[in-house]
């Protein structure tokens, strides 16, 4: 009865054993495709992707792998697909600096003012976070926070009869 399965132990450290193809391992950046938008830094669960503008045209991005939870949000949000989640899991190390990736990016400057886009002060449009087709209700002068990619007639009709919410009590 006990002899039927035999010995099932994997010979792992002596023979390589790759992970399945959809396994989320360590992320890597492709510096040819990265534009330095910082979306991955905004979306990182562990706040371990850090961005710092060193000078006018130099932006340094540092990925600190010690806190990374390998969730994959950075790759999901990257607009240029510069981040690939590899299947690399053999990351044991004595020093946490070994799992860091550091990228130095050359940023283009604005054609009119010659400055890079500032990270510290964002403009009003950034703060409002409203881009695309907008359906504010002009009749009741209400700002309605919905935007869509394509013009949507149902949405337009809905906001024509918009009623401001009344305060209770």
């Amino acid at each position: 009865m006990v002899l039927k399965p035999g010995v099932v132990t994997l010979k792992y450290p002596f023979e390589p054993m790759p992970a399945p193809a959809t396994f989320r391992g360590s992320p890597t950046w492709d510096h040819h495709k990265c534009v330095g938008c910082g979306a991955c830094s905004n979306h990182c669960s562990a706040r371990c992707i850090l961005v710092r503008d060193v000078c006018q045209e130099l932006r340094v991005m540092l990925y600190d792998g010690s806190r990374c939870t390998y969730c994959g949000r950075c790759a999901e949000i990257c607009p240029e697909d510069a981040i690939t989640i590899t299947t690399e899991f053999e990351l044991a190390t004595e020093d946490t600096n070994d799992v860091t990736e550091r990228m130095e990016l050359f940023m283009l400057t604005c054609q009119r003012c010659g400055r890079c886009y500032d990270m510290e002060n964002s403009n009003v449009i950034e703060r409002l976070d409203l881009r695309g087709y907008r359906y504010d209700s002009l009749e009741t002068r209400a700002l309605i926070r919905t935007t869509t990619d394509q013009l949507d007639q149902n949405m337009l009709k809905k906001t024509e009869n918009y009623q401001r919410p009344t305060k209770k009590g």
């Binding site: 006990v2 399965p5 035999g6 010995v7 099932v8 132990t9």
Partner: protein, 300 residues
Amino acid sequence: MKIFYVFVNIILFLALAPFFEGIIRKLTARVQSRQGPPIYQPYLDIMKLLGKQTVISADNPVFRAAPIFALASILAVIAFIPMGYRETALTGYADVISIIYLLTLGGVSVLLGALASKNTYAQVGASREMVTMIMVEPVLAMTFILGAVKVKSLGIGATMFSLSSTGFGISAGVMLVVFLMALQAFVGKQPFDIAEAEIEILEGPFIEYSGPGYAMFKYYMMLKQMFYASLLVTVFVPFLQTGYYLVNIIVQLIGIALVFVFIALIGSTNPRLRIDQAIKYYAVLVVMAISAVGLSVYGL
């Protein structure tokens, strides 16, 4: 010549006890479908434990002396059992009662060590070990007394070879069955793992020992296992007795290895009994052992 046998006994047991323990671990692993540790692993365990620092956690002399007592008592027993069907120099100086006394002394030193370490888990482990010892020592005593009744003397040589001189009877058969069933309890493996090595559940009575003290306790357990296996082979399988010492020793070692295989197979396929279930089991064993001795008194 007989003094030489004393040293051969001690060296044989000291050198081969971890090997047999390694056989148990490897077999347990194979039964569980995995590739276990290499067979010489317990040697490495003991070497490593001897090289560690001792963390003294309870500063009384009993705590430090308990492992030495345990190892000394089992070495004393080994020095005078007749391996290879030759009596050693010390066999004439001891008899059956002193063997039982020395084995109990080993158990008591485990208890002393556990209770001297002032840890609650160790106290629970010690109380379970006490219960196990109380219930299981009668079976061991009955094994010897069976031999003593058959040859009407208490000397070790005569009692241990009693079955070869007076022949097997029903009483010896019953005793063999009882001994096989109690072997797991003597040796401290599943299903009677309750006090000694119960590291998974309650950390056992050795919880505060580290380094060399623990190495001595581990060696004590391995030597105890090998002693009980050799007791089974010597008393109950006296057929293979050639005249040559070396051949006898090798045959006995093969027999001991088979007993260890048996221990490992039963140990890895059984769960661990609770203490109240185990007490009921031991009570049945003690009654059967006493009945076997009773049968032998009537000459059967």
